[in-house]
């Protein structure tokens, strides 16, 4: 039994209000019919006695207070789940847009998900080889991790993500089932096309589920897109036992959409006009990565966000960094110097790295080597600052060595070809080769035993 309500009492941006409603509940999904044809979905975001405030996903164009019929569905936002979802393309609220028909399944899940119980989580330890030295060597990605890419407009984050998907899928454990869930929020058509092509070229498109909310699609839909995608990812990982890599791009658009809706609801803004619950809302998305005890699959998240004005202290990257387990930061200066991928290693970090590397995982010297590279590269910054004041010629010999090391590090360790897929061994060996440019007494982060085994000073003539 579902009642249809005729007319509305108020329309304000993407929000409509309805009076005289019975039995409406918070977060319920409603169906709207405008002029008897257009069907839209909406979600109840506030209810007071017999009044409901509804957020319309598709936008409120053409609606008037008279021509709209509203039907309560009696359920929260749900998505149909089946392994057939892979290889398909959906819009931002999970409706197929590839013309292949609806997903037929009895399994429907609430897209809001539920918080994972910390006692049922398994601490992630298995690393994923990405083939990028800067990531594998210094900010190792771990299965079940959430590692965002902090980028800026015009930086090659899309190429990086696409190459990462391609190379990670060809890891050592290729017998395990691997799939990608791709969610686009407010991205340009070109970007969506780029990813589609990249997935086809690397032969993974049969294993990709795409959820596309493009830049000109309704803003409100964006708020649901990552939740739909993650519900699908959780199903594939924890019920079908697959290893899922979720790419969410661009989280900045998602946060902008929240701000837009929040302001039309008339809420009190906190930082830079974003609603006070931005942190909680981002957390409900990012925290859906992980591994459940006793289940084969895993959900690994790579959210991409463009930092407004390259500002890492902007609320979006800032709050993201507090929730995710590290970050990979792209740098405009490196990009300008033609280094690809332009990963700025110092602010980049992987919190789960320490437990997933070393003997038994990668190689015994990995942690020490990574610490030393970080520490030495941090000193390069000091040497460069000094050189910019007194000139390179006036530097002490050791500072000159640091300058040379810094240049080589950026070119040969961070920089690599757009199709180059390095093994962990290669990455670590390059690292040692670079450390060979520095005298042994400068290497204060490495255990003496490991130094004896791996350190080979470079000949002065070279």
């Amino acid at each position: 039994m579902s009642i249809e309500y005729l007319g509305l009492s108020e329309i304000n941006g993407p929000l409509i209000a309805l009076e005289g409603v019975q039995d409406a509940f918070y977060e319920e999904i409603v169906e709207l019919t405008v002029d008897g044809k257009k069907r839209e979905l909406g979600r109840i975001i506030e209810c007071y006695e017999d009044k409901a405030v509804i957020q319309v996903f598709g936008g409120t164009d053409n609606m008037s207070l008279q021509n709209t019929h509203t039907k309560l569905t009696g359920r929260p936002m749900e998505v149909a789940l089946s392994p057939d979802i892979l290889g398909r393309t959906f819009n931002g609220i999970g409706e197929p847009i590839d013309g292949l028909g609806e997903i037929e399944s009895d399994i429907r899940r609430n897209v809001n998900g539920q918080p994972m119980n910390p006692v049922m989580r398994e601490y992630p330890r298995n690393y994923i080889r990405t083939g990028f030295s800067a990531i594998d060597g210094l900010t190792t990605l771990i299965r079940g991790q959430k590692l965002p890419i902090f980028s800026g407009n015009g930086l090659p984050h899309d190429q990086l993500a696409a190459q990462l998907v391609k190379q990670a899928s060809l890891g050592e454990d290729s017998e395990e089932e691997f799939a990608v869930v791709f969610a686009a929020m407010g991205v340009k058509h070109d970007v969506a096309d780029f990813f589609r092509r990249a997935f086809e070229e690397s032969g993974v498109s049969e294993h990709v589920a795409m959820f596309l909310n493009l830049a000109n699609d309704p803003v409100v839909e964006r708020l649901i897109t990552p939740k739909v995608a993650l519900t699908v990812a959780e199903y594939l990982a924890f019920e079908c036992g697959m290893h899922i890599l979720v790419i969410l791009t661009d989280m900045t658009s998602f946060a902008e959409a929240m701000r837009e809706v929040s302001s039309s609801k008339g809420e009190i803004p906190s930082r830079k006009g974003y609603p006070g619950y931005l942190y909680s809302e981002l957390a409900t998305i990012y925290e859906r990565a992980g591994i459940v005890q006793g289940v084969n699959g895993s959900v690994t998240q790579i959210p991409i966000l463009t930092m407004p004005n390259d500002d890492i202290t902007h609320p979006i990257p800032d709050l993201t960094g507090y929730i995710t387990e590290g970050q990979v930061v792209l740098d405009r200066v490196l990009n300008g110097q033609g280094v690809y991928p332009p990963i700025s290693v110092l602010p980049s970090l992987s919190r789960l790295m320490k437990d997933g590397i070393g003997a038994g995982y990668t190689r015994e010297d990995h942690q020490d080597l990574a610490n030393q590279l970080f520490s030495s590269y941090a000193k390069v910054g000091d040497a460069r600052a000094l050189a910019s004041v007194i000139g390179e010629d006036e530097l002490s010999p050791i500072d000159k060595k640091y300058l040379a090391f810094g240049k080589a590090f950026e070119e040969h360790f961070v920089g690599q070809g757009p199709n180059e897929n390095r093994t962990i061994q290669e990455t670590l060996d390059i690292g040692w080769e670079l450390l060979g440019m520095l005298p042994r007494e400068e290497l204060d982060r490495i255990n003496t035993k490991i130094l004896d085994q791996y350190y080979h000073p470079m000949d002065e003539e070279q």
Partner: protein, 588 residues
């Protein structure tokens, strides 16, 4: 028949009820058909405002809200330790048994196991006069901790009935108390206490004993007292959580309450895994046996996040009342402040700085003031120390949570981004950090560590401060042009930074260092400084001194001297003497 109200409106975690419901402020209520737990946060003639500790999806106007009659409180009894709870003291492992991998709504579980039989040893007899806090029964709760069951603070009278020693559950009556007005109360091992009310004590002592953490920069440079408060602010990736983990693992508190407030799920899993495996160096028992975890991860309901730090501090006070030293790790208080902001925004309160409610400062001070070294009602002494992580927005310490926290803590360990980038851990910056306890604790250090301790500590601070002003010059003109005595100072400061302040949490010896070793390391470094200074005054150039490799040797002593072979420091002293002679000889 309990009072009820009818839901009128819902906005996220906030629910409005119509009419005068007769509920009390801060009363616990059950919301809707699913009986979600909530708390009354606002009352007026027409509306009652309730915050709900669970997701409110699916709640309809018209559903019933039922009052419980009690303020939101926690159950205090054996079984708290070696356990993990959510923000309102529901055990997560029990929730997992019913709900699987996810935390579903409206799960009704007991806070503590009511079936389990505990070995009780009664410490009172019939006729004993008892007051609030008197210990009536001792129960070995874990291998490390004896749980002391106390008379609730608001009761006194004479014991008229006692059960014999034996096995009882926390619900069994173990004694009957006749109050002075003649009424009789049955006492069990369990008592309830409202989380927002501090448990009473007789008096507060000044800080006199340090909380030894085994972390050199903390113990030596910026110590925290037992019963003290400290804040650890730092941007993301600077090692707040790591610092908290290290202190939770190695500090000499009897009991650790670890509050994961709005932080990552995987981090709590890691604490749970690590602490179950690690062994307490003092007692040889698993660390979890002295630990209770409160996990309200960032994706769990926001209102419960707000409650979680009060739950944590109430559990801590309860163990303090037994005479234990308790340390609370609150990671992170910023998430708690943001929960306040979020709820305040939903209530449409007038925002103050950066959208935080104006009562942020008073709430923070009320929380930190619950720390202290106390004389308990029963005459025992115990302490609650609070170490709160702060996650300032954009790593900027001028934001409201950091600034307000600074006003109420006496110990400030500022984490620094550039140190973290260079992977210098712990990334506590020696220039921005301070501890007001350093002076209060000086007598303790004099008596229990060494007479020279405070002098040595101050010399280290001077070296580090001088280094920072010299670095200003070096940044402009390079270090080559400095005179040799200043070059030596830079070199010694490097030894202090790398050899002393930097500490490797993953190294078996270096992860926790005794005060004795810290003192000896400090002395060795200063001895090296004195001898080198003597050489430099004799016009020996720094290049000659550096050629001897002694500085590297001293930097590596943290790894090279095992914690149980402190006599090896003597060899270092000899090596420094040999270095002195050798330089003199070569360049005479």
């Amino acid at each position: 028949m309990s009072k009820t109200g009818v839901i009128y409106g819902i906005n996220g975690p906030v629910v409005y009820l119509k009419g005068n419901t007769g509920f009390k402020m801060a009363e616990m209520v059950y919301v809707g058909e699913e009986k979600l737990v909530g708390e009354v946060i606002g009352l007026d003639k027409d509306t009652t405002t309730v915050q709900v500790f669970e997701e409110t999806t699916g709640i309809k106007p018209g559903e019933i809200v039922e009052a419980s009659g009690d303020a939101i409180s926690v159950l205090l009894a054996p079984g708290i330790l070696n356990n993990i709870f959510d923000g309102i003291e529901r055990p997560l492992s029990e929730i997992a048994k019913t709900g699987g991998a996810y935390i579903s709504r409206g799960t009704v579980v007991d806070s503590l196991d009511k079936e389990k039989l505990w070995d009780a040893h009664m410490t009172v007899t019939v006729g004993t006069e008892v007051t609030g806090g008197t210990i009536i029964c001792e129960v070995p709760e874990t291998s490390a901790i004896v749980h002391k069951v106390m008379v609730p603070p608001d009761m006194e009278g004479t014991i008229v009935k006692v059960v014999p020693d034996g096995k009882y559950t926390i619900c069994d009556t173990i004694a009957v108390l006749q109050m002075y007005d003649g009424s009789e109360r049955e006492l069990t091992m369990a008592q309830k206490w409202p989380i927002r009310v501090p448990r009473p004590t007789q008096k507060r002592y000044p800080a006199t004993r340090p909380l030894i953490t085994g972390q050199r920069i903390v113990d030596t440079l910026f110590p925290i007292a037992k019963g003290g408060t400290a804040a650890v602010p730092g941007g993301f990736g600077t090692g707040k959580t790591m610092t908290q983990h290290q202190i939770a693992k190695w500090s000499d508190a009897d009991i650790i309450i670890y509050i994961g407030c709005g932080e990552r799920g995987n981090e709590m899993t890691q604490v749970l895994e690590d602490f179950s495996k690690l062994v307490d160096p003092k007692s040889g028992n698993p660390l979890m046996d002295r630990t209770a975890l409160i996990a309200n991860t960032s994706n769990m309901p926001v209102a419960a996040r707000e409650a979680s730090i009060y739950t944590g501090v109430t559990l801590a006070e309860y163990y303090r009342d037994m005479g234990y030293d308790v340390a609370i790790m609150a990671d992170s208080t910023s998430r708690w402040a943001e929960a306040l902001r979020e709820l305040s925004g939903r209530l449409e309160e007038m925002p103050a700085e950066e959208g935080f409610p104006a009562y942020l400062a008073s709430r923070l001070s009320a929380f930190y003031e619950r720390a202290g070294m106390m004389l308990n009602l029963n005459g025992t002494e115990g302490s609650v120390s609070i170490i709160g992580a702060v996650s300032p927005q954009g790593g900027d310490f001028s934001e409201p949570v950091t600034q307000n926290t600074k006003r109420f803590v006496r110990c400030f360990w500022g984490l620094d981004k550039s140190l973290a980038y260079a992977r210098h851990f712990p990334a506590i910056h020696w220039l921005s950090s301070y501890s007001e306890y350093a002076i209060d604790l000086a007598p303790w250090y004099k008596d229990y560590v060494s007479k020279e301790f405070t002098d040595c500590r101050n010399r280290l601070m001077v070296i580090l401060n001088q280094e920072s002003s010299l670095m200003e010059i070096v940044k402009l003109i390079g270090s080559d042009v400095l005179p040799d005595d200043q070059k030596l100072l830079l070199e010694i400061a490097r030894v202090v930074r790398l050899g002393f302040l930097q500490q490797n949490a993953f190294h078996p010896d270096d992860t926790c260092v005794s005060m004795e070793k810290q003192m000896k390391m400090m002395q060795t470094i200063l001895y090296l400084y004195d001898r080198s200074k003597a050489l430099v005054t004799m016009n020996m150039p720094m290049s000659v001194l550096k050629a001897e490799n002694i500085f590297e040797k001293v930097i590596a002593m943290k790894y090279d001297i095992p914690n149980d072979h402190l006599e090896k420091f003597e060899e270092y002293k000899q090596a420094i003497d040999a270095f002195y002679d050798c330089v003199l000889e070569k360049n005479a």
